[in-house]
Symmetry: D3
Subunit: 239 residues, 6 copies
Amino acid sequence: MRVDGRRPDELRPASITIGYQRTAEGSAMIEVGNTRVLCAATVESTVPQWMRGSGKGWVTAEYSMLPRATITRNPREVAKGRQSGRTLEIQRLIGRALRAVVDMNALGERTVILDCDVIQADGGTRCAAITGAFVAMSTALRMYQQAGEIKHWPVRDYVAAVSVGVLGGAPLLDLCYEEDSAAEVDMNVVMTGAGRFVELQATAEKSAFDDAQLSALIQLGRGGMAGLFEAQKAALGGR
Amino acid sequence: MRVDGRRPDELRPASITIGYQRTAEGSAMIEVGNTRVLCAATVESTVPQWMRGSGKGWVTAEYSMLPRATITRNPREVAKGRQSGRTLEIQRLIGRALRAVVDMNALGERTVILDCDVIQADGGTRCAAITGAFVAMSTALRMYQQAGEIKHWPVRDYVAAVSVGVLGGAPLLDLCYEEDSAAEVDMNVVMTGAGRFVELQATAEKSAFDDAQLSALIQLGRGGMAGLFEAQKAALGGR
Amino acid sequence: MRVDGRRPDELRPASITIGYQRTAEGSAMIEVGNTRVLCAATVESTVPQWMRGSGKGWVTAEYSMLPRATITRNPREVAKGRQSGRTLEIQRLIGRALRAVVDMNALGERTVILDCDVIQADGGTRCAAITGAFVAMSTALRMYQQAGEIKHWPVRDYVAAVSVGVLGGAPLLDLCYEEDSAAEVDMNVVMTGAGRFVELQATAEKSAFDDAQLSALIQLGRGGMAGLFEAQKAALGGR
Amino acid sequence: MRVDGRRPDELRPASITIGYQRTAEGSAMIEVGNTRVLCAATVESTVPQWMRGSGKGWVTAEYSMLPRATITRNPREVAKGRQSGRTLEIQRLIGRALRAVVDMNALGERTVILDCDVIQADGGTRCAAITGAFVAMSTALRMYQQAGEIKHWPVRDYVAAVSVGVLGGAPLLDLCYEEDSAAEVDMNVVMTGAGRFVELQATAEKSAFDDAQLSALIQLGRGGMAGLFEAQKAALGGR
Amino acid sequence: MRVDGRRPDELRPASITIGYQRTAEGSAMIEVGNTRVLCAATVESTVPQWMRGSGKGWVTAEYSMLPRATITRNPREVAKGRQSGRTLEIQRLIGRALRAVVDMNALGERTVILDCDVIQADGGTRCAAITGAFVAMSTALRMYQQAGEIKHWPVRDYVAAVSVGVLGGAPLLDLCYEEDSAAEVDMNVVMTGAGRFVELQATAEKSAFDDAQLSALIQLGRGGMAGLFEAQKAALGGR
Amino acid sequence: MRVDGRRPDELRPASITIGYQRTAEGSAMIEVGNTRVLCAATVESTVPQWMRGSGKGWVTAEYSMLPRATITRNPREVAKGRQSGRTLEIQRLIGRALRAVVDMNALGERTVILDCDVIQADGGTRCAAITGAFVAMSTALRMYQQAGEIKHWPVRDYVAAVSVGVLGGAPLLDLCYEEDSAAEVDMNVVMTGAGRFVELQATAEKSAFDDAQLSALIQLGRGGMAGLFEAQKAALGGR
């Protein structure tokens, strides 16, 4: 029995609302349990210097937490003048995850920037950010497609992410903050709608793990994906 | 007739919702037309170095805009490694405004930090931040009072803020973004519930102004305060 | 009776000397009581990116204090790697004040940079900087006009600034440092030679103020302008 | 047949030399093919603030590349004033990997800092850094143990790392730079001497991967570990 | 015949005025030809961390140029967030020069900070800064001695500096800016009142030099010192 | 008798190995006693902005110490976000020294960057860096000459550097760290193969020095050059 009454293989309630930030081309507020992340998509008609003239697009992400997304206030990163290693690592992960399902030729020389701002943090913020950012990006690109600016739909598949971990020897799906801070092993699984891996990061926080545990975790992660893809489809109107 | 159909002396619809960010001691989402600012209050049991041992408290504020609070994306300030002059100016203003109604002796050696994050910007964000931060701060302090940690209620009066301006020669209350960017004169009025001024900043953006215009603007600002104090009282439960 | 023996509506002795820094196109050392600010004007033949091709000019300012302009040494801002909020606020104010009296079309695609360096600080440094910078700018532009590079004189009016405040309930003109740090209300008035307002910033440092006090302060500020315009005219040779 | 003539499951020649930097408590120059990383261990008798009084130690790492470790010069990070996301990510990985095999109670309130400076980069620098840093750390701690400052040997097991990847559909062990930049899937495996996982990071650089590919990569990685543990033992004198 | 009509071994007119900045313990405006540097001395009752408890004092310096000390404006260093290599080099030089003549035991655990701000630059600003800073420091310490806070006079000797150089093959004393930028060899000589060297920096800007040229330059520098010590004595009232 | 048994005028064993870093156009590991500096040369086909179109080249240098080049770890400069004054001073010195022997017209519009990274520090690192960087630069330029990209050999003469100092009243050649930290006078001599001075920096660390001491030091430095030029020639294959 888990701290919030869930079964080991039970995802927290997940829902995604589009259009939360009317000023953005595409936006999505994702809620996974008490974790809430606001994702906004911006489509710019330039690409980084090293890609100019290639005819291909680019997808990148930025991640930040509001100071009071956590129970004790965490200072703004601008106060230190730089982003932390954790922040940079997460935004690199989000960018890679989304790039894995985008056809850069179909996108053309455009950059999609995903801004993921954590409003409330209760574990799994980077996974929620990936799952929500996919919806924000799709919404924005749909607008560009409808306006005729993009000819071929550049999104090849869904992509979502979930955390799994080992706590007290037992594998658990979708860790909340309390579980996450006590877990022996922590793993993030990023997967496409077709069930293929995009990214897989497993870390032994307290004790090293063996093949059997690794398999169990991967199984669990795969199982949790269904609920996330459903939430994405619901938000995007069954598209 | 204004761009959004309002009368010259008409405030935009204003509402404040408390408890938006459950992780914070006090939080308030303020909406004034399309402007939305999330305000969170943190009460820390320390004060800045130069106040230690004085028995007095301190109130300070931080202000930021999400990148897509605006129609075109504005880069995060952490990317440049420092806050802009505009941001620093606004957070200094918010801090002064709130300090004006707090009894620092009653607060004791505590610091209240107000985080004001703009979710959507349509003019008047600094005024909305002041008005919302007052509610977030009051909610947080009420919790401390109920817990018996604060003996005497340290908030002496309400405080709210509104912008006024001259556009096409006519004085207008509560400018939206479109009006604000075209205004000849721009003014922010910060006022207490008792109708006294806390701060008054008038700037000739396009042409200098005379005493008559100044009087008209101040009158207009004073008139707009009622709606804001009502929204604050409604949010705080008629307290 | 004030700390330095002045009447409530009495300005400190004010004088401006041009040509202090021979290396600059225009320079002015302004002294108001013990406050001394060295202002230098630079005319560059470029404008900020967003103005290129507009045919219009720009005016901007930088403000700094020498470490020993004050009784106790204040560290250089470069040591912290960034300018303080106070510095940024002041240089934005000086820039706005001067732009208010410059015809940007007549200036043409040029930028005037005003460097205001405080040599000695005894209250009112931002007001002195505005008043002195006007003289430095006029001197530099006169040189450009005499060289035939500028056809139409781009300075439409004088502009100067003075501080007023409420101390012990009494409104006072031109506060020195000792008065300034104890004042209940502090206000800066920026005004054109024609007696119109360019900027007006009133702050309740210790207690909120009402309409009557506001009127009294504005009256006092207006009264103090005469002496400053005279000092400007004297420095500019009666121009 | 691979670019350098190796079989798919063949490790590059790996050797480790201790004592390269005589000024350090422990140092190791690791060479894996053309990749060369100089690792130095420093033992300090303090721990980070949040660990003081816990009786436990800490292990942390820093990673950097000399500008000419690469065929085209890459500018020093100090020139930009900050470490890149890649660098921060790598040093966090090295720290986690080594902490996984250290008994922090046996270490006592000491911090071991591992400086990993890449002299030549030809793929797999982060893995080489982990493998070499283990030797540098062990050498330094042995000195402390011999001096009687550490009673119980705090290193519980060996730890080493190797990269694997999918290139042209085929799984390959220990990618050199040319292979790494063309790989479809890239994975780093960090493992203990006992054959348990400490960290596992798989990224789909060009196409998502399935369970079968994942298993093949993990098998390959496990197989490559033997050669690395041998090099570590040889360097440490069979200890 | 030199550009300003001087003989090769002729110093520019040098004068030093004390008390220029009334807010400082000691201040001196030094003029050497058109070069003008404002030097201010601050005496603080602390020393750097590594000197605490030693009973000894410390002397340090900061150097800066006003943006319009030069014919074309040079941007403030705070704009780049850091001091240039040139600035750091100069302030290290000034600090070393003054420390060479101060008895740190007599000074006691105090730090003297010398702020040297260049008002006008026409060559030789670092030398003028050393020569002027000596006077500012002496003035400040005299105040402390008269107040009885310092028992033994801690200044053991005078110290001053002058530049020499080779231009068109001829050795010249005290180069102005025009000469300095064309010189083949540039040298700064820092010397005590007793005629001993404190620092000597010779640089071949355009062509290497031999022993004979070196001797000639040193001779010339030594000869120029007299005029500087006289200016120092005149400023300090024959002390 | 010196701490390491040398005579006062005896250089430490000096050797230079080229090709240490195979990834660089030219590289040299210089060892002078226990001091070891890795120098790498990069030839880029651009020049700084202010030199474009001049037909002339440029030579510049960067200097850094590995954290454990010293007995106690010195933190990386990137941690503070900026290079220290000492570092900037040294890289400026290395750049000037090498520029003195390069014919910039023969080099053409190319920049040679010398990266000097100290592996072990035991005094005299800046001198070793100059001496080694000369070899790295020559190796790289030879490659360009052999490839026919450079027509005329642009290196006009050898350049090397050595430190001398006064310790216990006695002049010593080539100070090791222990001697350097105790020396009364410290001097760096940079000289060409033809025996002319490029740079000469003498500092009275503890007591001022006179003409006789200066002459003795210069003599000593000149004497030590022979061994360094030999090491350079040996490394460059008698070229």
